[in-house]
Symmetry: C2
Subunit: 201 residues, 2 copies
DNA sequence: GCAAAAATGGACCTGCAAGTCCAAAAACCG
DNA sequence: CGGTTTTTGGACTTGCAGGTCCATTTTTGC
């Protein structure tokens, strides 16, 4: 009932979302007008409101979901295989590389700050992303505990929470300063403390 | 040349900034109209543009500076006296208490995300805040090193960077989830690892 | 007290960007 | 095929929020 998209329609919809996402990454949420999306994706206003009847809010929500999924996808296959210290370091490197390349263009910040208050669903998207992210890290910690590489005394969820916080803050500070120093420091020191725990405890 | 504010004028200007800041904390930057500020502060449009000739952007910049200063003030006198482990814990408690009370109403997020891209100076304000914040933490670390409570092997600036990242991420996740779990985890685990360093190294 | 400067109030203007509407073209399906 | 539904294009409307302007009142400094 809700949907009856032909193949062509599906493609157009996807093109709009991807184009809007790119535009938003480039210029920020509140700088992007529907006209920009139209120009950038070669679509008309009729199309925009055909695929997103609730207008900009609905489009932004779709973009948020798209970007949230992308964040986790960009960390694969490392994130789902934190089964050895080299694997952890590879994941670390991927993260830093990804955010260094991204620079100031952060989809999350804008989408949390701006969409977050508007649309009720946007909050849920961000929360869901963080939840999945943290769980993946916690799984990695638990696996390392099962092999004895991390002390069993460590609270995996709490450690994952701290690490995730460090990452988020590192990215935030990357936005502010343009440098990955904080992200690197947070990742390295937190991971190091997990390794150290294996020896002491 | 630039200014000639009477006592009354100064008071009005301050009232506008404080009122706008409160309004923004409450409802978010892009939900606040100049009219809201006028209503909330009992001022007229003429006054707004009298004290902020460049309009909303200039007002937002003043609000950003106001809020940035407040963030550090709220941590005093603890932040400037990280000279013993109890002092560190008192600081930790103050931070958590402050942000728990603040809840979802974060001035920084909005001001970085939205003002950040607009005004060129807003970026500088946030950068300056982070710089001062990190330096204060680093000073605390160095002091603890001077008393032997933290290992001399620790890179104070790097440790401060990691801790600051954890705080920022913790606050960000507080915005997303409404809970202080991440902030607490990041603070506690990072501080603990500094204490542990004293014993091992 | 008085001229100059600052502070205040509020009516008015303006531009822009979201959202509406409908008519034409293309795609789908039996 | 031919009727139906989806897709598309773009002109038009509308509301609103930022910004302008000036007339009036208050404060200042001598």
């Amino acid at each position: 009932m809700t949907r009856a998209l032909t193949r062509k329609g599906e493609a157009t919809r996807a093109r709009i979302v991807a184009g809007a996402a790119a535009e938003i990454r480039e210029r920020g949420v509140d700088e992007v007008r529907l006209e920009d999306v139209m120009a950038h994706t070669g679509t008309s206003k009729g199309q925009l409101f055909h695929y997103f009847p609730d207008g900009k809010d609905e489009l932004l929500l779709a973009v948020a979901q798209h970007e949230a999924d992308q964040v986790l996808l960009d960390q694969e296959p490392m994130l789902s295989n934190l089964t050895s210290w080299p694997a952890w370091l590879a994941w670390r490197d991927r993260l830093i590389e990804r955010y260094r390349a991204q620079g100031v263009k952060c989809p999350l910040n804008g989408l949390l700050g701006q969409t977050g208050r508007r649309a009720p669903g946007a909050q849920a998207i961000v929360t869901g992303l963080m939840w999945r992210w943290q769980n993946a890290i916690a799984d990695g910690v638990r696996h390392m505990q099962s092999t004895g590489d991390i002390s069993a005394d460590v609270d995996a969820d709490r450690a994952a929470a701290a690490l995730l916080a460090g990452i988020q803050g590192g990215v935030l500070l990357l936005l502010a300063t343009g440098k990955t120093d904080h992200l690197e420091a947070a990742l390295d020191l937190t991971i190091d403390s997990l390794r150290a725990g294996a020896r002491t405890a």
